[in-house]
């Protein structure tokens, strides 16, 4: 076994260079709540850890173009304590609040939740419905990528060797918009989603839904962005008929597996039930957040 090395560079460029030139397995260490557990349980044996928490720009939430830029090393608790962010994107925060215990959220980051590559990650569906765009810095170039394009399969992302998520951009909120995320778990806390649903919608002055994004978690190898679900809402007042169509579309979009936490049949049914609930919650928020 070769020795595990630790680096805590002060710039993103230096971090990307360290990752790019490493021959063995190199891991980014942000919150560490997945990486350290994977090391402890011998799932991975990295040779290099690159701690990105000393890179100042990665630690900040800043206002940008009426929206927010969230640095990749910002912890869940820091997001939960940011009043303006919570007010603007309550659905994103629904997801963040469900990531583990207070202790875990003190360290864990949304970037880590995404890069860990689990289809059950709680913060990923609401980040996708929010239209979040990741800024990815690599040794050669910087690219902007919508969050939904990052997960490829369980544990795999489209980040190349040497690339690091620098931040996420959450756009300015149109008027009368609301988002929400809920998941089903056997326990109330400290559990992994059996099904998760995020919805972000915008209403016009008459209360008609003009735009919607719907994302399902834990019911396929990656999170699913469902156009059919969104279509069930757009043009309606999100009434019973629209909710029925949404629920049917959500169940139809599922491609789940059977496992100890839920059967295919159960997950398919619950996706519809949750979609309906989450739509109602997003609707209430859209009416409240003028």
């Amino acid at each position: 076994m070769s020795e595990l090395r630790y680096e805590a560079p002060a710039s993103l460029k230096a971090a990307a260079a360290l990752l790019a030139k490493e021959k063995g397995l190199a891991k980014i260490l942000a919150g560490g709540t997945d990486v350290i557990v994977q090391m402890e349980t011998d799932l991975i044996e990295p040779e290099l850890l690159v701690d990105i928490k000393k890179i100042a720009v990665l630690r900040k939430i800043t206002a940008e173009k009426g929206g927010f830029r969230i640095g990749a090393a910002v912890s869940g608790m820091e997001m939960m304590e940011h009043a303006a962010l919570c007010k603007s994107w309550p659905g994103v925060l629904d997801g963040v609040k469900l990531i583990g215990s207070i202790q875990v959220k003190a360290r864990a980051t949304v970037a880590g939740n995404l890069c860990n590559g689990s289809p059950a990650a709680d913060s990923v569906p609401p980040m996708i419905t929010a239209g979040a765009v990741a800024r990815i810095v690599g040794p050669k170039k910087t690219r902007e990528v919508p969050v939904e394009e990052i997960p490829l399969s369980p544990g795999k992302t489209n980040l190349a060797k040497g690339e690091i998520i620098e931040s996420f951009f959450l756009p300015k909120r149109p008027k009368n918009s609301g988002d929400a995320y809920e998941r089903f778990t056997p326990r109330t806390e400290m559990d992994i989603a059996v099904v998760g649903v995020a919805i972000n919608l915008t209403l016009d002055a008459d209360g008609v839904c003009t735009a919607a994004r719907v994302c399902l978690g834990a019911v396929a190898p990656t999170v699913i962005v469902s156009k059919e679900c969104a279509a069930a809402l757009v043009g309606t007042k999100v009434d019973q008929a629209a909710l029925d169509k949404l629920a049917a579309a959500a169940s139809a979009a599922c491609r789940p597996i059977d496992d100890k936490r839920g059967t295919i049949e159960f997950r398919t049914k619950v996706a519809g039930v949750l979609a309906r609930r989450v739509a109602v919650k997003a609707l209430e928020r859209a009416r409240r957040i003028a």
Partner: protein
């Protein structure tokens, strides 16, 4: 393997310098290098909360933090909770109201509860239960833990 990092951190107001390896967690260092064994290990994977400490004022699992990440950090552990022989109100109420049985979860729960009361001196039962959701207890059934925290909170508010 040689210990290759020379680090300094402050634990409960005292400065420490120590040597450690990259893979050693903050929990490992507290217990094995600094001999502060009040912080317990239940799982080493972030599930049980027995290893809870404060890290620069924030409640965290010391098993989920590498010691090398803590250069210059301020750590709070159970050893810093009582003032000499005078127990913290949380500690006293846990004793009086049987908030512990075997006691292995207790240091972590006390640290977590103190961190809650610093932020919210008058939490509801639901808020206490959610805040402590990351601290498992095999013995008490939790109810007496909640009562002990409520009693300590009340006392600390001077109510």
């Amino acid at each position: 393997m040689s210990k290759k990092h020379h680090l300094a951190m402050n634990v409960n107001g005292d400065d420490y310098e120590f040597l450690c390896e990259t893979h050693q967690s903050l929990l490992d260092v507290l217990r094995d290098e600094l001999m502060l064994t009040g912080t317990k290990e239940g799982c080493a994977t972030g599930d049980c909360g027995a290893c809870s400490v404060t890290l620069d004022g924030r409640l965290a699992c010391s098993c989920l933090v590498l010691a090398v990440e803590c250069e210059g950090a301020k750590i709070g552990t159970i050893e810093g909770m009582a003032r000499g022989d005078v127990l913290h109100p949380l500690q006293r109420n846990f004793l009086e109201l049987n908030g512990l049985q075997c006691g292995i979860c207790t240091p972590g729960i006390l640290i977590a509860a103190r961190s809650l009361l610093e932020r919210n001196p008058d939490p509801s039962e639901t808020e206490i239960r959610y805040w402590l959701a990351g601290n498992l207890c095999r013995c008490t059934g939790y109810d007496k833990i909640i009562r002990s925290v409520q009693a300590a909170a009340k006392e600390m508010r001077g109510a």
